[in-house]
Subunit: 338 residues, 2 copies
């Protein structure tokens, strides 16, 4: 790799002039600029990221904190972010945030504080007070996407409204015995699953119906399968249990809903004949499964998060509306109860 100095020699100017010609900052005669650019092109010169960063204090890289890269939803958001950052010349530094305490400490105490990024985008993560403190002390633009903590300004879908919408759809079809598969928490700031559960219960209460069962679970397809199995089980400890299966299930994600559909199939139940199922996300498979769902356009969410970061960094990008869109898509997994 050639250096600024070589370009300067070849163009017969100072390194300061080369820097100006290449960055476009500062006044320069057109002739000089052209000469320098030609020299740089001939040498195939590219500015060193580290040297430039050290001198300017800007890295042109954005840190993205992801909980689970291998979940469909986050992979899509990440793709959306990447598609937006690349044209602006920003790189992505990817931080996979696990539950491992040592790894998290390393991430917050060291990695993020090394000054490698100009801004941070955090996806659906929860941070404890210490972690949040670190993020704030970074002094960088911080963009949350579905992050529960109110200290972190966040783009978000109105998840209570999402859940009300899904639940209302089932209620309108005539269902009363509706179960919810998701997650819920009492302490702390309500996270996305908790908001969805609240929306579900609000909708049920609004219709004067006592919610049917709630099964708490993680968010893989496997988990959805297990949770639905739980709902459909009519025995406990070998003893028959006196309870009906619900006529409809609101699952807090499409992947949970897929698992639930597989479990219904395994139990010999027809969807929507015996049981209706609604999800949330707009997963690429939802069409194939005929799953009624509330779409939330994760790719577009990623684009918006990137725009928010770029705008905060002074790039010529309009700051996006923090309220993210969603939309009920009715397919064949929901129908009136028998």
């Amino acid at each position: 790799m050639s250096s600024l100095e070589e370009v300067a020699r070849r163009a017969q100017v100072s390194t300061a002039t080369v820097s100006r010609a290449l960055s476009g900052r500062g006044r320069l005669s057109d002739a000089t600029r052209a000469r320098v650019r030609a020299a740089a092109a001939e040498l195939g010169y590219v500015v060193s990221a580290t040297a430039s960063s050290l001198a300017t204090g800007r890295t042109r890289s954005i840190g993205v904190l992801v909980p689970l890269v291998d979940r469909w939803f986050f992979a899509n958001v990440l793709d959306g972010i990447a598609s937006r950052l690349a044209p602006h010349g920003y790189d992505i530094t990817l931080y996979n945030v696990t539950d491992d305490a040592a790894q998290r400490r390393q991430l917050f105490q060291t990695s993020l504080r090394r000054g490698r990024v100009d801004a941070v985008i955090a996806l659906s993560l929860e941070f404890d007070a210490g972690e949040l403190g670190v993020l704030e002390q970074l002094g960088l633009p911080l963009v949350g996407l579905g992050t529960p903590n109110p200290r972190l300004s966040s783009l978000r879908v109105d998840d209570e409204a999402v859940a009300r919408l899904a639940t209302a759809h089932l209620l309108e079809l005539g269902h009363r015995d509706i179960a919810h598969i998701g997650r819920s928490r009492d302490g702390g700031d309500p996270d996305i699953p908790t908001m969805r559960r609240r929306g579900f219960e609000a909708a049920m209460a609004g219709a004067g119906v006592v919610p049917a069962r709630f099964v708490a679970t993680d968010f893989t397809i496997e988990d959805g399968h297990r949770a639905m199995g739980e709902l459909l089980r009519t025995t406990a400890g070998g003893e028959p249990v006196d309870r009906r299966a619900p006529t409809a299930v609101f699952a807090a994600s499409d992947e949970l809903a897929f698992g639930a559909m597989f479990a219904a199939r395994d139990a010999g139940l027809a969807v929507p004949g015996d049981i209706s199922i609604v999800g949330v996300d707009g997963h690429e498979l939802s069409g194939f499964f005929g799953l009624t769902t509330v779409e939330q356009f994760p790719h577009a969410q990623g684009e918006r998060a990137a725009d928010a970061a770029l705008a905060a960094l002074g790039e010529d990008v309009a700051p996006p509306d923090p309220a993210l869109p969603f939309e009920l898509v009715i397919r064949s997994s929901t129908a009136p109860p028998r």
Copy 2:
């Protein structure tokens, strides 16, 4: 963020000593080292990545070139890479490589040449001669994972063997009329889909069977659905066409196979009753679909690619075996023909 200098003042030593104490390089009395570390800890000092990189020429970041972050397979590989790099203190710089010519030029001519990474891992990508030249001139360790070009040393699954294994399974069940859904190329180095097609045809030839039809396609679930629709269509341009549907299909990926299964269902065909289907990957959904497939453990592939990069960078990691494992998993999507 405090600087080396502040730590030096507080510990009453020179900045050189602080640097040595913190990096562990160079001889130092235990007392001094302890004093410096205490001072650094009190100040919450973290070495600046850019300054350190400029001085040492090492960034402790690895560039990962990904074709499609939002495909299940690549998202899993990426997760595997991340899980391995983090404990060694390496960051990931993520480059989403699209087909957009301008973006690719920008990536290869500028982004990668800015000196932001110590090594490059490339996933299943094809590079033209110019791009390959750039990669080689970077002078960095280069790890390919399923990259077709022989100039790029690559960890790979023996994809011909994978396809032979899948096809042999169908042949052993008694199928003769087997179609393949995938992709194939004549020019250039054979990429993964092409290897699979070759393996398929080799297996068919070995059994003395003329291969049934081949449908070329991209690799989404949607594409699989379309390709299978193609295979099952018995009319063309409104006219009936004289051909039988195959009794079995070998799909070059699980996602294609899922699409094919949905298409079979849409056509009223039973799997495996009317048609057997095999895939490749070991997708998290394959169990639910009962899909017989050749697993290839993408997460572990990512771990190995990361290990290869780390080993090349002199980290204390054993260089992995470049031959990646795979395994036929027989489920309920394959059975003898009627």
